[in-house]
């Protein structure tokens, strides 16, 4: 029995949408190098729709696979749909993650929200701040695993 599912290994070894969008409309970075994972997500947004998305990740196999899967889940979707993506959807789409790796999927969800929030902030678009809680491990301690 391998540590990761085939889907996780596929997304880890062949990550989708990896890289940078230099003229991104929204960029979100979550995580902490001290804790061993950072995800950065770039969004290209047109008419409230995510036209393009790319990511860069420093982290373990499941962090890279979770970022890759998250980009697949939101590409071409409306902002509203993207914001509705949960860490559980990322995990399910990956065919599961080991329990102590679940925080990688949380980071993936948070990176989407952080990128959208950045897009809203840049464009002075009002939004409900309570829907964008500060990510718990951007500052201070590492997430519980």
């Amino acid at each position: 029995m391998a540590l990761y599912t085939e889907t996780v290994m596929d997304h880890f070894t062949h990550p989708r949408n990896v890289g940078e969008i230099p003229d991104a409309d929204g960029v979100g970075e979550v995580g902490n190098a001290k804790c061993g994972d950072i995800m950065k997500m770039y969004l290209k947004i047109k008419d409230d729709r995510i036209e393009d998305v790319k990511f860069e990740t420093f982290g373990c196999g499941s962090a890279i696979a979770s970022s890759s899967m998250a980009t697949e889940l939101i590409k071409g979707k409306t902002i509203e749909e993207a914001l509705a993506v949960t860490n559980k959807q990322v995990v399910d789409a990956l065919g599961g993650l080991p329990a102590y790796k679940l925080h990688c999927s949380v980071l993936a969800e948070e990176s989407i929200k952080a990128a959208v929030k950045n897009y809203y902030d840049r464009n002075n678009i009002p939004y409900d701040h309570s829907k964008f809680p500060d990510c718990e491990h951007c500052e201070g301690g590492c997430p519980m695993v």
């Binding site: 880890f12 070894t13 890289g19 860069e56 990740t57 420093f58 373990c60 962090a63 590492c142 695993v145």
Partner: protein
Amino acid sequence: MVYADNAATTKMSRTAIDAMLPYMETHYGNPSSLYRLGQEAAEALQSARETVAACLGCTPREITFTSGGSEADNQALISAARIGERKGKKHIISTAFEHHAILHTLKKLEKEGFEVELLPVDPIGTVTAQQVADAIRPDTCLVTTMYANNEIGSILPIAEIGAVCREKGVLFHTDAVQAAGHLHINVNEQNIDMLSLSGHKFHGPKGTGVLYARQGIPLTNIIEGGAQERGKRAGTENVPGIMGLAAALKEACDHIGENAAKVSALRDQLIAGLSQIPHSALNGDPVHRLPGNVNFCFEGIEGESLLLLLDQAGICASSGSACTSGSLDPSHVLLAIGRPHEVAHGSLRLSLCEWNTQEDVDHILKEVPRIVAYLRSISPVWKDLASGKKQFML
């Protein structure tokens, strides 16, 4: 496949397997039984004890067979603590980068009221005899330091530390799990009172270990229930395992010099080659180093993803990253030598044995730089470092 994780475990040698088979197939008697089948097993056990004693430079009576290095470490520390507390001595000295078999047992003793002092480790990962001498107090009952570190390969000045302890009348235990079969051991020359080793680190079987305790040091049982091992370790002896351990240890000790020469030459090529990777650093003592140990930190990447990609490239290795252990923090050893968390997450340990080849080294030196470069290319941390937004640490 290139197996470069010999510090985790080793492939068994043909010699060790052949030494075990008869004790599973035909000589399967219980050494405690009085009929011949049992007594043959008892004689075999005695011969294994003599073999191991000869490898360590002690007497057979001073050898206790255990289920492994961890059990031996546990029993050594608990025994020394019991001796100490009977004399009102409850201060124990160790180091910050011991194996968890030591550190967790010390934590347990701390809860019982012992005072544990962990000596800091210097940046190359060693502890001096002077540090030990300065730390010893009238109420010190035990000094326990590893012979060589399992992660970064640093070899400690065991004989000197032993001499200091002997002079001050303090028991000295060494966890020699990484050293046995790879580095010279003579418990008398090196002033060692207690020593732990594990069979599977030198091509012997898993689940086998040895605790050496100098004659006159009373051991405290960890396992109760029978008169085996002079009453100090209950349970029917693992005769096949013990035979395998003894055969493997003898073979390793008989070839210790030539193996060390061969393995350290391969090791040095890896160290030289991996040092070419920008913003990398060797961990551990560059000179006093286990023959097979290579340990690097690569800035801007995380160790688990490196290991997974190495596995895809047919290379088995290990890392001190938190993600590989399921814990929050990266390796306590890397933190103890002063590596920041960010850097410690990007560590790689390759550990070689005498069966590794030049082709293995060439393959590793082709794959590691490629994979490190790839992971850096998708790492936002590396991008911030490369663009000058953040300062390189290595």
